[in-house]
Symmetry: C2
Subunit: 366 residues, 2 copies
């Protein structure tokens, strides 16, 4: 989209007050900008609240020179149409998860999460100090006319809900399971009948037996989704989504026309939101997990070593094939794989070793 | 400090241009504010760069209505005098680590890090969604006339440098070791002669044999400090500092006199800096560790299970005694201990389990 088109579509409402030229105030002399922001998420949840807070913060930081009027999922366009809405100029920014836009790009799913890949801390290190944001832009967002910023992370997800126990590779054969993204591609190679369903259809499908199970997010979101009413076996860990990235995407023309203050406001508020969303998921998951187990009879179960090992050994074959689909996907994949190697080494002897060791300390309140 | 005193000390330089009253521009009508910021850290390192970037960002976000002129360690006052400088009104903000100010507060060291306590993700969850910032203020910073915000995290540190191998509890007896903070208090109970030395004195003390070892931060910072020239045994993990918090502290009167934009600018830039510092440590540690091992002959060694278990069992006794010193310390300690319990449960089945499982996946670049 061209710059002129953007200004028309973005609806610049104040071109500068009459006396503004006498003041050295960029916000006034360059006028006030109104954006429309769309979202793949509903207003009610944790992510809707984070998006509201982000827009409010940008307004406060720019003293109203950049206002983002938000439309959550279904309010202006459907949740999965958010990226289309920005590309068509209906909105100037959107909020979602990169793998929602897999139909638009062979590379973009690798920005979201890689099975057996990076945890949230390592993912953020790659984004901010490993060239990750620039590479996501170059390989995935810029070709779509967009600019990317991370706007939250789920942290390590849960493995999912199963009607029956699964312990062995043989138990996967013929299983009807809902799992989008790269994890689903891996499960297909084990004979799983991978089903893709919009969120609202998952509980009915579980209830009717149309599917044998589903992954979702983590305890807090899963409790709200109510899967515990139908199936009781809740597996961990979420090998398929170790730290799923939420993405903000901006019309590139709109982004480029921001002044320094506006751009800094978005960048700082986005980085703070990235940490805030991860922190909030981390803060609420355990209480929700307790409720699921203690009040709803959910059985918390680890994936067997056999399964974790077999799926882990298969995963790189599947992801490598997907990464060969385009030069952009290959470039992004190689960066993540290289980064992952160093992170597995460092986190293994620091965070990983520490988390195993600390269980020996019997802390009590006094 | 009273508000009037603050304005005098902070040196408000522009009270508003003559014509400003006719404009609805809070930044102009309330004038421009200049602060002085001091630091416990030198300009050259990762933390000095983060502090510079923070101040620059605040200036950009406020369009110059709040300028923070920085003086790094030794430039205006000594690094460990930073908090004194803010309390006396010489500066309006400071940067350091909470345990540097242990002489001022019985509670404040618990804000920094607890041996066998929270990792960085859990620590941030507590700060932002567990009431941690408010509790740190109430118990530790407000009583000193200050307002607190987290401004970075080291992530999991390394265990430290030792001239000789240590494998058993008996090896600790009589050891002369530099370790400040709560970890040092724990080691004392094992007969360690715990030594406190300013950073610049550590390498000379190691060289002369005045100490048998030292902890420092992590591979990147430790490489720069040059300890590898004298001792070669480098132990992990950093049970004593699983995720050390860096603190920003503000004169309470100065903080309270900020307008909404200025306060939001500091809060957002601080939260972004918090994530940025952690991300940068995470990004650079592994390459530094490789250099230490491959180019400088450093021996990377895990603490023995015997030591990790014995120290882990002793730690809560020691920290509980320290937390009994004042009602503020007790209140803060109990909040952290309760939070830790939920986090150990959740992180154990999510992040911890995942990090063990993912090593089976043989990713390669394509």
């Amino acid at each position: 989209m061209k710059r002129r088109e953007f200004f028309k579509k973005a609806g610049v409402t104040v071109a500068g007050a009459a006396g503004a030229a006498t003041l050295a105030s960029p916000a006034l002399s360059q006028g006030r900008t109104q954006w429309i922001g769309v979202s793949a998420f509903g207003k009610a949840g944790l992510l809707g609240a984070a998006y509201e807070n982000f827009a409010k913060t940008v307004s406060t930081l720019t003293e109203g020179s950049l206002e983002i009027k938000l439309y959550h999922s279904g309010e202006l366009v459907g949740g999965l149409e958010a990226l289309d809405a920005v590309q068509s100029g209906t909105a100037q920014m959107g909020y979602g998860a990169p793998y929602y836009w897999a139909g638009k790009s062979d590379a973009i799913s690798f920005v979201a999460a890689m099975p057996y890949g990076l945890n949230a801390q390592e993912q953020n290190a790659w984004f901010y100090y490993g060239g990750g944001i620039e590479l996501a832009d170059e390989t995935s967002y810029n070709p779509l006319g967009l600019k990317f910023l991370p706007l939250g992370n789920s942290g390590n997800q849960m493995g999912g809900w199963y009607a029956k126990d699964i312990n062995t590779v043989a138990d996967l054969e013929g299983l009807k399971f809902r799992m989008p993204g790269l994890g689903g591609e891996v499960l297909k190679t084990f004979g799983v009948n991978v089903v893709l369903l919009p969120g609202s259809d998952v509980l009915p499908a579980l209830t009717s037996g149309a599917i044998d199970g589903t992954e979702w997010i983590g305890p807090a979101a899963d409790l709200g989704a109510g899967f515990f009413k139908v199936v009781k076996n809740y597996y961990y860990p979420g090998w398929h989504e170790p730290a799923t990235v939420l993405d903000a995407f901006f019309d590139k023309g709109a982004w480029d026309s921001l002044n320094d203050t506006q751009r800094a406001a978005i960048e700082q508020a986005a980085m703070a939101t990235n940490l805030g969303v991860l922190s909030r998921f981390q803060a609420v998951n355990n209480a929700s997990l307790k409720k699921l187990v203690n009040e709803h009879g959910v059985q918390l179960k680890p994936y067997s070593d056999e399964l974790l090992q077999a799926i882990g050994e298969r995963t790189p074959e599947v992801t490598a094939e997907l990464a060969k689909k385009s030069p952009e996907a290959t470039k992004l994949y190689n960066s993540i794989v290289e980064w992952r190697e160093g992170m597995v080494q460092w986190s293994g002897i620091s965070e990983g070793k520490f988390m195993n060791a600390r269980t020996s300390a019997p802390f009590k309140t006094i």
